[in-house]
Subunit: 115 residues, 2 copies
DNA sequence: CTGCTTTATCGTATTATATCGATAATCGGA
DNA sequence: TCCGATTATCGATATAATACGATAAAGCAG
């Protein structure tokens, strides 16, 4: 947890979480899941946002590796990056495994863990 | 995707993603997974940050429902909220299921989805 | 080459986040 | 009740994110 050198995996996972941590981008991801190979204009029409704003959100998703775009004539067709999403699912599964409820359901008396 | 009324579930999921979208908070979550019922001071010692900063990060995690704290004498013992993490895992699994690689591995020619 | 369509980028204003030091609140023990 | 230990909150500041309109870039049709 020290700031010394954060594992690149950790930074990358956080980047993906951050990309998905915006309701609009999350909706974009869902839209793309339902509409494979949709183009930017589709997402603009499906939202209330300016074209430039949608483009910026796509940039965030692209840089996080959540989506990928290919040139499609004058437009760009966007898709989810399945590899990234699979990796995310594994990481989340790993992060949430082997956890036992401690103080949520039934508060448990504990001793200080350090000094 | 319209901004009209975002489902509360979507906003909540985004909130959890946002909470986990910071490397330090992600590390805190891992620390808590390894050290059940640790107190705030443990997290402060394990980080390079000021106590107030750690406290703010805990607040973000708390408000997202990722962690829960119980009073433990003058200190506060923190734990992961297992219910939230399980819910997150389900949501991520749902989000990433039934996806087929489209333009990432092998670009596919597509037609416009709208108009 | 010239337009037309589509998308990305730039400049900018507003809002949110991160971090710290200082201070307040809370609890248990003397 | 007062003190020490622990944590939360406040105020300030710096950085990052969000959103828009305007403009640039890129590709295709003619």
């Amino acid at each position: 947890m020290k700031n010394v050198t954060l594992p690149p995996t950790e930074e990358r996972l956080a980047q993906i979480f951050r990309a998905l941590g915006n309701p609009l981008r999350l909706q974009m991801v869902r839209y793309m899941a339902e509409h494979p190979q949709c183009i930017t204009g589709d997402l603009v029409l499906a939202s209330d946002l300016a074209q430039s704003t949608v483009s910026e959100h796509l940039k965030v998703l692209r840089e996080a590796g959540v989506v990928a775009g290919v040139v499609e004539g004058p437009a760009r067709s966007y898709c989810l990056n399945v590899d990234t999403l699979r990796w995310l699912r594994e990481q989340v599964a790993f992060l949430t495994q082997d956890l036992e409820a401690c103080c949520v359901v039934e508060p448990v008396v504990s001793e200080r863990s350090i000094k």
